[in-house]
């Protein structure tokens, strides 16, 4: 078995392809996620992060490129059984805690949905017991099973969403900005829960976020996205210590710290894609500038960055 659980190869997702309204939400991105690691995907709103996650989990059909899960192309036609098996292995946690739970269903039925679809439990009592176990796993009570989503706070709802994903025993979870809609005080709770679950169950995460502050804390490696393209990818520490792409530097300069002395001297670096001044004959590619550290750059920039490293 390979080290990579998921490989995304030259993935493209164009909405309304060929029409005047064409949107290149993902434009040729490639990355891999190792088994058991957390890959953070950051970028500003609308740069194609959710689309990447949703295409990986087959909510959208890819325009081009491949997503390999354990070496199997997820978008290739498959038998019902194979589809079903894949559905269990990949799960998703959503951004909006208010839209991600059906308001007409009890928490019991929301969490049991996956159990029902995949026939994982026999009988009502086993079903209920499984749901209660899952509720307790995510730090909720057994009484919550009989309640409706509107009775819960944002953080509690997000945990219900996590329990729903866990119900089918997935290996890989795509967390699409799971904490963006939450209070800062609650964000840590959810992130810690995700970390605990990862240790306990050996989960692999794709963790999507729109700023770098929390991602650093949870991710092993980070990919930075800008307008449908990956512009930089490196291990989390390396990315923080040594950001190379101008856009990454700009993102890092935007993180506030609770340190007044630092804050007084913090300078924000706005990013302007025109600053690159790529010539029309220059080939802008994803290149490995340092070991494991990839940057989208031209030949010239590549040479400069390598020179700066030494």
């Amino acid at each position: 078995m390979s080290e990579n659980l998921i490989e995304v190869r030259n993935l493209k997702q164009y909405f309304n392809a060929g029409k005047s309204t064409e949107v290149r939400a993902i434009d040729d991105i490639s990355f891999a996620i190792k088994r058991g690691e957390t890959f953070g995907l950051v970028g500003e709103s609308g740069c194609g992060k959710s689309t990447t996650g949703r295409t990986m989990i087959r909510l959208y059909d890819a325009t081009a490129g491949q997503v390999l899960y354990n070496g199997v192309d997820v978008h290739a036609p498959k038998s019902k059984k194979e589809n079903h098996a894949l559905n269990r292995k990949m799960q998703m946690i959503f951004q909006d805690p208010y839209a991600s739970l059906n308001p007409r269903m009890k928490v019991l039925d929301i969490i049991a949905e996956g159990l029902d679809i995949h026939g994982l439990v026999k009988g009502k009592t086993e079903r209920k017991q499984r749901v209660i176990d899952l509720l307790e796993t995510v730090g909720l009570n057994r009484e919550h099973a009989e309640r409706y989503p509107h009775e819960f706070s944002g953080g509690q709802r997000q945990r219900i969403g996590i329990a729903r994903a866990l119900a089918v025993d997935p290996e890989f979870i795509i967390a699409d900005e799971p904490i963006s809609a939450l209070d800062v005080s609650i964000q840590a709770q959810v992130v810690n829960l995700l970390k605990e679950l990862q240790e306990e169950k050996g989960l692999t995460y794709l963790f999507i976020a729109h700023d770098l502050s929390m991602v650093k804390y949870i991710s092993d490696r980070i990919g930075v996205m800008y307008f449908g393209k990956l512009v930089e990818m490196a291990p989390a520490d390396e990315l923080y210590r040594n950001p190379m792409h101008a856009y990454t530097k700009s993102l890092l300069s935007a993180i506030p710290l609770p340190d007044p002395i630092y804050e007084r001297s913090r300078v924000r670096h706005p990013y302007n894609p025109k600053d690159h001044q790529y010539g029309s004959d220059e080939k802008v590619e994803f290149r490995e500038v340092a070991p494991e550290h990839f940057v989208l750059c031209s030949e010239k920039e590549f040479a400069e960055m390598q020179a700066a490293r030494v």
Binding site: N83, E113, E151
Partner: protein, 341 residues
């Protein structure tokens, strides 16, 4: 000085950390209410809607049992008993409904004059038919037409709008163009054509009402489907591997049911009104069958001399219209999530 005193009184125990049991902090005290229980609580507070429901139930009850209450059949003609004013036992002593009518400008007891011993509670028409019996028979027919038409509108509208919205793409394009063409044709022309082709009667009227009536519902359902199908809870269900049928029945329909019910509640009075309109202009039900529309038409012809012929069906249709609209309003307030906290 005070501060020092207080500080001395503090014991080491006062500095122990207070911990909150996580289970306690996650507890919810409020009783758990489903959407429908909550809606019922909301509706119960709406007096107009509750009164309307009671009135509506009474009218429906009368439509069912009314024709059997007084022993007169609705289609028995008795020319000797024609054009009798209302006469109700018990109330006659008060001077109302005592059988007095005007004859050549003078007030006379028509019952005595015609030597009629029976009571006609709401009077009789020009053919001597009992108007009380005919009123409730007519109400029954009108309600039947309205309920059936609303039900058909609902079924077709929900199916059409649901399919169009859910599958989207080309299917949606084609289905929406068809709707636009249908809307372009004036309803009344379609209806008159339909009635000319088919035998006039209940079926023809129901077909006429439903032939374009479902479009409103289909548009609402399509919009709702488009709204809900991209919601994250539907996506979650997809990633779990749910099939289209499950998604529609478990996620989409339960969320749209409120709006479907509200819309149907407003379709019913429209259908009643439309049927009455068709019958009133003479292309609806044909005699001797009665509906509220034909009764009002009959009454309208003799409005000056025998106003009671028009009065009672007019009251019933007004009460029905108001009751359905108030119930619809109440349901909308109770079911529409935007109105809730």
């Amino acid at each position: 000085m005070r501060n020092e005193n207080e500080q001395e009184k503090l014991t080491p125990e006062d500095f122990e950390r207070v911990t909150i049991d996580a289970h306690h902090s996650e507890r919810i005290e409020k009783p758990s209410l489903s959407f429908w229980q909550d809606a019922w609580l909301g509706l119960r507070k709406n007096k107009a809607a509750i009164v309307s429901m009671v009135v509506l139930l009474l009218v429906i009850l009368m439509a069912l049992i009314g024709p059997h209450l007084n022993g007169h059949a609705g289609d028995t003609q008795n020319l000797r008993h024609a054009n009798l004013p209302p006469k109700i036992p018990g109330i006659e002593a008060t001077g109302f409904f005592d059988g007095d009518g005007k004859l050549a400008g003078k007030k006379v007891d028509l019952y005595e004059m015609k030597k009629v011993d029976e009571y006609y509670w709401f009077g009789t028409d020009g053919l001597g038919r009992d108007l009380f019996t005919r009123l409730w028979e007519g109400t029954r027919v009108s309600l039947f037409i309205a309920f059936v038409a609303a039900a058909i509108d609902m079924v077709i509208g929900v199916a059409y709008g649901g399919i169009s919205g859910y599958f989207g793409g080309r299917t949606d394009d084609i289905m929406q163009r068809i709707v636009e063409i249908l809307i372009g044709i004036p309803t009344l022309i379609v209806v008159i054509l339909m009635i000319m082709i088919m035998d006039p009667g209940i079926t023809a009227i129901i077909v006429a009402i439903t032939i374009t009536g479902w479009i409103g519902m289909s548009r609402i359902v399509r919009a709702q489907t488009l709204k809900y199908k991209s919601q994250e809870f539907v996506l979650a269900s997809r990633t779990l591997g749910a099939k289209d049928g499950k998604i529609i029945t478990k996620h989409l329909l339960p969320n749209m049911l409120g709006i479907i019910i509200i819309n149907t509640m407003f379709t019913i009075p429209n259908a009643i009104f439309f049927e009455a309109f068709l019958s009133f202009i003479g292309i609806g039900l044909q005699p001797p069958a009665a509906s509220l529309g034909t009764l009002i038409n009959d009454g309208y012809k003799v409005m000056e001399n025998q106003p009671y012929v028009l009065l009672f069906p007019a009251i019933v249709i007004s009460v029905l219209m108001i009751a359905f609209n108030l119930i619809g309003d109440g349901l909308r307030d109770a079911l529409d999530p935007k109105m809730k906290d």
